[in-house]
Amino acid sequence: MTDRDAEFTAYLQARQARLLRTAYLLTGDQHQAEDLLQTSLAKLYLAWDRVRDRESVDAYVRRIMVNENSSRWRGGWRRREVATDRVPDAVPVHDVYDEGVGAEVWRVVQTLPRRARAVVVLRYYEQLTEAETAEVLGISVGTVKSQCSRAIAQLRTRIGEEER
């Protein structure tokens, strides 16, 4: 194995579990997430020599994942996508402390447009700053703020409706 491949393998082993979770939140489906992650890592492998700053690999692969996910939606791949707010069976739902909020958060995330969902996942799951989120997605900081505000407002509305 070359040094290049060994370096990539080390990254793969260290980061794939976390990246799979991000992919799951982006797609809302375990199988789509696994496919998205594999494709994104393959593209990262092809571009490995171009990512000279090893500190920025995570940012690079996140960008690939978001774009890949959007491309599937936009183009031919979207033809095969199931749009649903049904929670996949493979992922257990925690009810002990939940009181319904967790389910509502997930419903809000799943009904957001792709880019808005990516904003929420990067900002609140990956906990990137607004500026980092904007850079990954190629949008303005103002757009990041407005998308997050809208998601929170949507959640408040849903919770309010539940309680009425």
Binding site: F8, T22, R79, T111, P113, L155
Partner: protein, 372 residues
């Protein structure tokens, strides 16, 4: 209800997601397939477009001899308009200043009455511009996507309230139809606009029904598929069939709605749009906000020509039919972000119409946005 709620709940939701660990060999294998697909055009072509089949318009050989001939004088759909640096260039060369950046537009359509309809990605808004480029109206949508009719005389989208809206050429305001039946509050998808009064809709995987002002009616087809595009005369629908154990992404076909059967099938090409005269289709794979393996296929779904973007690091960003004999493509070098707008002739040859100029990262946005 604060940001912490999202942080906590997304973390909990993701915590129990575990997949089979990917090995280096698995990832490298996928990478090799991607690289092969990206390079297939370069390897296959010397000229910008190479004719693979000499008689593209003949329905020769093929998988099903019962494939219908196209109508003797099929209607010719309008060609593609191109948005670049806030200027929209129509098929006849006329230009319109449009107050919107390429990077903010994901989809674009031009109605036959001259109005321009664009989807704004950052706000999921449908914006309607007058023929002079002035903003006329904005409509909130469930997601930033529009579907144009083949004749460009109607455009439809899913509104914020999940009801479908149809804006017809010559009519000031959109007509509001029922929502697309879906579980829970999920948004359905408009697969095709047959005309202002008839839409094909579905769940994103399968086209399930027709939607009219009278409501939703289930579509009876011999097998499940999703409609990708409709020929200008409406006689053929380009469809994708469902994935199965042998075909990860499913296969494709041409469906005759009158005969109620798929008349041609292929698992090698992914047709995305009929030519304006309905005799050819553009095919390609969307990857990373670009399109790979862009080909022109005939009504047997056999490759007629392959578009060579002109270099191993150059890809097709967006494409569309300029007229029945030409394809417009925005080409981008993904290493340098250099862009050109090129017109390819289906019989061979190409002509650079604009560029080479530095521009947006093609993984994020398109310098040349083509009308639907």
């Amino acid at each position: 209800m604060t940001e912490e709620t999202f942080v906590r709940e997304l973390e909990r939701r993701a915590d129990d997601v575990h997949g089979v660990p990917l090995t280096f060999e698995t990832v490298r294998g996928r990478a090799v397939r991607i690289r092969r697909r990206r390079r297939v055009a370069t390897a296959a072509a010397v000229a910008a477009v190479v004719a693979v089949v000499v008689a593209p318009f003949a329905l020769t050989g093929g998988t099903d001899q019962s494939a219908p001939d196209p109508a003797p004088a099929p209607p010719v759909a309008p060609g593609t308009s191109v948005l670049h640096e806030r200027v929209l260039t129509l098929p006849d060369g006329e230009t319109i200043d449009l107050p919107v950046d390429n990077a903010d537009v994901s989809e674009l359509g031009v109605l036959t009455d001259g109005r321009i309809v664009a989807t704004l990605t950052d706000s999921a808004t449908i914006r309607v511009f007058g023929p002079d480029g002035a903003v006329q109206a904005s409509y909130p949508s469930a997601y930033a996507s529009i579907t144009m009719s083949a004749a460009d005389d109607a455009v439809a989208w899913v509104g914020e309230d999940l009801r479908v809206q149809v804006l017809a050429s010559g009519v000031a305001e959109p007509v509001v139809l029922d929502g697309i039946p879906m579980p829970g509050e999920a948004a359905g998808v408009i697969d095709a606009v047959l005309d202002a009064d008839h839409l094909l809709v579905g769940d994103g995987t399968t086209t399930t029904g027709t939607l009219t002002t009278d409501g939703y009616t289930e579509l009876a087809t011999p097998e499940p598929f999703r409609v990708v595009d409709v020929s200008p005369d409406g006689a053929l629908w380009a469809v994708t069939t469902l994935p199965d154990e042998t075909q990860q992404y499913g296969c494709t076909g041409l469906y005759d709605p009158e005969a109620r059967k798929i008349v041609t099938r292929s698992c090698d090409v992914y047709p995305l749009g009929f030519s304006p005269d309905g005799r050819l289709l553009l095919s390609g794979f969307f990857e990373n906000n670009m399109v790979g393996d862009v080909s022109i296929v005939d009504l047997d779904l056999e490759r007629v020509a392959t578009l060579d973007p002109g270099g191993a690091t150059t890809a097709v960003s967006r494409f569309g039919w300029s007229d029945p004999g030409h394809v417009l493509a925005g080409l981008a070098n993904w290493q340098t972000s250099d862009w050109t707008l090129t017109r390819f002739d289906v019989d061979g040859g190409s002509e650079a119409l604009a560029g080479r100029s530095s521009g947006l990262d093609p993984e994020l946005a398109a310098e040349y946005v083509m009308s639907e």
